[in-house]
Amino acid sequence: MSEHGPGVQEGFEGAFDGEENGTPVPVSLARWDDPHMQVAARDPKKTERLIMTCFVVGILGVAGFGAVFWVSPSPNYYWLYGLTLGVGFFFLGFGLTAWGKYLMPQGPFVEERHVLAGTDEERDAMAAAVVQRTDVVLRRRGFLGALLAAGVAIFSVVAVFPLLRSLGPLPKKSLFTTNWRRGSLLVDVNGTPVHVDSMVVGGIQTVFPQGPYRNDPNQAAKDQTVLLRPNDSAVATGKDLPKGRTKWVPHGYIAYSQVCTHLGCPVKLYEEQLELLVCPCHQSMFNIRNGAVPQFGPAARPLPQLPLMVDGNGYLRAAAGYDQAVGPSFWERTTHPEWHW
């Protein structure tokens, strides 16, 4: 660590304390009694003892690391590895740095260098020679240059191929539709269908459409639907929902898409008494009473609602698919002719 020059004098104690030693002295002129040659420490013996202590602690640390490694404690004590190694390294390094700062000649020393640039005549002669030779080189080896240029040109064309082929398939219609259809059976994450009597009032569940796509995470990610059975009878009858949706909420069940319309996180935080669905990522809050219209937060559009119906055996099914694309906005979303959102 010491950047000072050679010629270390051991333990030279003088009266100088370094205030007049700001100007560098050339290395070749420094002698043993020069004030620059003194150590920087005011009390070198005390400093030496301090550094010795640091080294002892460092030795204990690294030796302790070995001991912990040998003993192989349970994972609750893994922090001992870090502690011992960290203490060991820190104090060894601290001691070494202090040695270099306080127990070495404090300098500063400077080494004079000779001029590196050549004389004017030398420079002119070199320039002329380079120009003359280069001309010959290029003319005689033109064919090589042409081949190199061809290689670079072909590479620049080929480099575009991964950009065209390897970005994956275009999403096409998959962004606009989910797997929910009229008659899709609501099943939970284990595949169990949801009976109309199975959820108590105030409950919440994530449901998917029954089918082979339930095990595909990409399909499940957009199909995920949150099923609620709110406590409030006004919410349950759906009288505050947008027009035409009173039949979408049989027996007090309401189903919304769980993909947040802001940036796509699953909206699973259900505050039952506040009638809010909260998204954990950026805290968009959707009011379940009036069709999941966002009441707070960065979401700009309400969560799409899934119309529900009860089949002959009492199981909940979708009465239709979603009437709009689920999830965050994308460019082509507004060009669909039937959707107003």
Partner: protein, 320 residues
């Protein structure tokens, strides 16, 4: 002597005091071992208003949120085990969790405790007539037991949006007594849960169920999180296993109820996961920083780690 006493001017007031005190003690004071009739309470004298003792009145009602339907997992009529006593259902459940009704001998004590600590807000019939506290009838004994054993009730302040967890004012026995009495007004499920064989729980299933259902509000480390409008999901680090099951099955305050879709086995897995892995996390780094999340950890790393490094670098490069 007696003539002197009767003629003194303190005779009449002291005599009145003695007479009134005796009358009061006879009418309202504690009676030892009244059999067949309940202990008279400090408020009101009509015993039939507070206590029903006929077996026909222990038939379970649908409850405030339909918790006794046959299809919801955790309902008494969905489970395989049921036990009756004097025609009343006193125990139901599965090999994973058993739900027991508090003994009816606790009802008089619960009545007295409720009238002392709870009736000023919830009303003497526990049906919240004043509009400042909700109706407790038809919620099941587990609800009352949860709120009292976690210390949230009796509430300290009516102005706070959410009653905080604090040191319980009633002992667990007293909480059971209050639960027994409230339940006797309108019997409903769920009863007090007792987890069976917690060591046999599947922690991996518990972890995935917790992540799916609970981590959204309570965070993955169970540290609790802020929610909307001054409400918050509390930390799980102080909950007993019974309180976890009660909270899942009864859905206190803003928490939704998971009675319909989680079986007893799944609830046991979640509860054991909470009381083992969440409450006793394996902080391999030594200090969990409360498990609050990456912002805290980044703050500590930047402030202490990078700060110390900067100071050390300054020291190294400093001209001595």
């Amino acid at each position: 002597m007696l003539r002197k006493l009767v003629r003194s001017r303190f005779f009449l007031p002291s005599g009145l005091v003695v007479v009134v005190a005796t009358a009061g003690l006879l009418a309202f004071g504690p009676h030892a071992g009244a059999s067949g009739s309940p202990t008279p309470t400090l408020y009101g004298t009509d015993a039939s208003v507070h206590h029903r003792s006929t077996p026909a009145d222990c038939r379970l009602s649908q409850g405030q949120y339909g918790q006794t339907g046959t299809f919801n997992a955790g309902s008494p009529f969905h489970t395989s085990i049921r036990a009756y006593e004097h025609g009343c259902l006193v125990l139901y459940g599965s090999p994973y969790i058993k739900y027991a009704l508090p003994s009816s001998s606790l009802i008089p004590e619960g009545d007295l405790l409720f009238q002392t600590y709870c009736s000023t807000c919830h009303g003497p019939q526990a049906n919240g007539p004043y509009g400042i506290a909700p109706n407790l009838q038809g919620l099941g004994p587990a609800t009352v037991d949860f709120w009292i054993t976690t210390g949230r009730m009796p509430a300290q302040s009516l102005r706070s949006k959410q009653a905080p967890e604090k040191t319980p004012k009633l002992t667990p026995h007293q909480a059971l007594a209050v639960a027994a009495w409230v339940n006797s007004l309108l019997p409903a499920a769920p009863f007090i849960p007792h987890v069976q064989n917690p060591n046999a729980a599947n922690l991996a299933d518990g972890a995935s169920l917790y992540t799916l259902n609970c981590a959204a509000c309570h965070t993955i480390t169970g540290a609790g999180d802020a929610l909307a409008y001054d409400t918050y999901a509390p930390t799980l680090h102080n909950a007993t296993i019974t309180q976890v099951v009660e909270a899942i099955r009864t859905g206190p305050a803003n928490m939704p109820r998971f009675t319909g879709n989680l079986t007893d086995q799944q609830v046991r897995d979640i509860a054991v996961y909470v009381t083992t892995k969440i409450q006793k996390p394996q902080n391999i780094g030594g200090w969990g920083l409360g498990g609050v999340g990456p912002v805290t950890e980044g703050f500590v790393a930047l402030l202490f780690g990078v700060g110390i490094l900067m100071l050390v670098c300054y020291w190294i490069g400093d001209r001595s």
